[in-house]
């Protein structure tokens, strides 16, 4: 719009532009520098999964080997911890996605008394420090005499990922064209059919994005899990308790698997979302 107007006559356009080009190049270089910094520990993690470790500490390079990939599931404690993490992540993702989607649809679509309070609680749940959440849950479960374990971890994970799903779905719902749903109703679809056949397919990208987010938050969570786990060890908790004596390279291999798997899932979701335009 404004760009079609001719520029003001006295503006030193040429100088600005060449100055801009150098600045842009500096900014580009800087951005890449920070990206390298961000990825450095990931590189270290992946690299040392291939290290011929000597002694307890896996922090100096001693040569290339694939043996840790061959023996990745040799440590029972670590393997069980990874299994526990996966089970909890799947379970809490399913529950959080179901509850969060309903919540997101309600908040995005309807105006009702209590919507403000609901928003406020979600906002508080997202912004409360994790350690306070963990401490509150411990106090809660201790007061009710609920033994800490799988159940309490899953409850906690659903609680903190629910709001993220709701927010993601809500912002998707807000972009939808309501007339499509009204058309379905005019054509005789009931409320449930309209939701199942029209609304749900339209908000699906928001739902899958929310589910992926919930899964990622759950499998990575350390702080709240540390508080609510009791004797159960998840992948991050196992790493935490083992780190003082040096981590076995199997941890690097599993970390690499999770990293690659996560990237593939995210890319698949991005491709699927592009193929299914809003």
């Amino acid at each position: 719009m404004t760009t079609t107007l001719s520029p003001a006559p006295n503006r030193p356009a040429g100088r600005t532009r060449s100055h801009g080009r150098l600045g842009d190049r500096l900014l580009l270089g800087y951005t890449w520098l920070v990206i390298v910094w961000l990825c450095l520990p990931i590189g270290v993690m992946i690299l040392f999964g291939f290290n011929q470790v000597q002694g307890r500490y896996n922090n100096r390079w001693h040569g290339f080997t694939l043996q840790w990939y061959a023996h990745v599931f040799d440590l029972d404690g670590l393997t069980n911890a990874l299994k526990a993490s996966l089970v909890i992540a799947v379970l809490s993702t399913v529950i959080a996605t179901a509850l969060g989607t309903l919540l997101g649809v309600a908040l995005g679509r309807y105006r009702f008394r209590g919507a403000g309070a609901s928003n406020l609680v979600q906002f508080a749940a997202i912004s409360t420090p994790e350690i306070v959440m963990g401490m509150s849950l411990v106090a809660f479960f201790v007061a009710l005499n609920v033994p800490l374990g799988y159940l309490t971890i899953t409850i906690a994970h659903v609680m903190f990922s629910l709001s993220f799903v709701a927010v993601t779905v809500r912002s998707r719902v807000l972009t939808l064209d309501r007339s499509v749903e009204e058309a379905a109703k005019d054509l005789g679809a009931g409320a449930l059919d309209t939701f199942r056949l029209v609304t749900l397919p339209m908000i699906l990208p928001g739902v899958t994005a929310g589910a992926l987010l919930a899964f990622a938050i759950s499998i990575d969570d350390f702080v709240v899990t540390n508080f609510t786990a009791g004797n159960v060890e998840t992948f991050p908790l196992w790493i935490w308790s083992a780190q003082k004596n040096g981590l076995p390279p199997q941890v690097n291999v599993m970390g690499t698997f999770i990293f690659v798997g996560g990237i593939l899932l995210a890319l698949a979701n991005a491709v699927a979302a592009r193929r299914r335009p809003a």
Binding site: C39, G100, E130, I131, V167, Q243
Partner: protein, 287 residues
């Protein structure tokens, strides 16, 4: 009948998730506050005695850790703003077709567990590790030089771990800036600097505020970085709470410390949320 049903629909949708949040978030928070005023221990049970001394005792005992947490969190947040702004600016205005690729690269660390990333830094920075080992062998740094167990390592770790949470909201705010407005400022004889200071920067401030929220809260209540990268002189309030709750099992002290931390941070958050509108911050938090 139909209208009643229509009016009840949103409540039916909200109910399951709302109940979950009420029972497992709101109620536990209230119990935390209740616990923080109780006396007793695990063996003998607890009694509610309005024990305000839990607060005075834990605040006077752990005051240095409280101050240190806010200090580390504050410095890390400030560093994140300075480091993130140019990146967010470049991606938003010059990223072109590759915007989402750059954002994806910035988010890459999140595909590795937070604890593992921090431990990876510990390996990298360890006294005779990948970085310092060769430097010491070549005589470039003295043999007793170390990075771990210092406040620099802890603040560096906090900055590293929360940087993407600053880039994203600033990017979202900058991305919404209408290029026409910037163009208009040039037409009105603004220099590049003036245009940036008077147009772009003010428009991006909500993003900076959201980023501050998303950085300062988790950074100042973190204990993983202090534990893995720091030493006994770098203990933060999170370490104390974790220790009191999980090792000492002194729940009244641990809950009083948590409640103080929460109240201090929530006061700041609600001041922010009021200034910005809850939904803007929520939306920024969701991206």
């Amino acid at each position: 009948m139909g209208s009643l049903r229509a009016r009840l629909t949103p409540y039916a949708l909200v109910l399951p998730g709302g109940l979950w949040l009420a029972i497992f978030f709101v109620v536990p928070t209230l119990i935390l506050l209740q616990f923080s005023l109780m006396t007793g221990n695990e063996a003998d049970g607890y009694a509610f005695t309005f024990a305000w001394q839990n607060y005075s005792h834990s605040l006077t005992t752990y005051w240095p850790q409280f101050v240190r947490s806010l200090e580390y969190g504050g410095i890390a947040t400030a560093l994140c703003i300075v480091l993130s702004y140019p990146i967010a600016y470049w991606i938003a205005f010059k990223g072109g077709a590759r915007k989402s690729t750059y954002l994806f690269l910035i988010l890459l660390p999140f595909f590795v567990s937070f604890v593992l990333r921090t431990i990876s830094w510990q390996f990298f920075l360890s006294d005779n590790g990948m970085l310092l080992g060769p430097l010491k062998e070549w005589g470039l740094v003295p043999a007793d030089f170390h990075i771990l167990q210092t406040s620099v390592a802890v603040v560096g770790g906090l900055t590293y771990n929360y940087l993407p949470f600053m880039v994203l909201p600033i990017y979202v705010a900058l991305e919404r800036v209408d290029p026409g407005v910037v163009e208009a400022s040039y037409d009105l004889y603004c220099s590049r600097t003036q245009s940036f200071l008077k147009v772009v920067l003010p428009l991006s401030l909500p993003g900076v505020f959201a980023g501050v929220l998303m950085n300062f809260v988790p950074a100042s209540s973190d204990y993983v970085n202090a534990e893995v990268l720091g030493g006994p002189d770098n203990t933060m309030i999170g370490n104390i709470i974790q220790d009191q709750a999980l090792t000492v099992r002194d729940y009244p002290t641990a809950t009083a410390l948590s409640a103080t931390l929460m109240l201090a941070l929530l006061l700041g958050i609600f001041a922010y949320a009021r200034a910005l509108g809850t939904e803007t911050v929520l939306e920024a938090a969701a991206r």
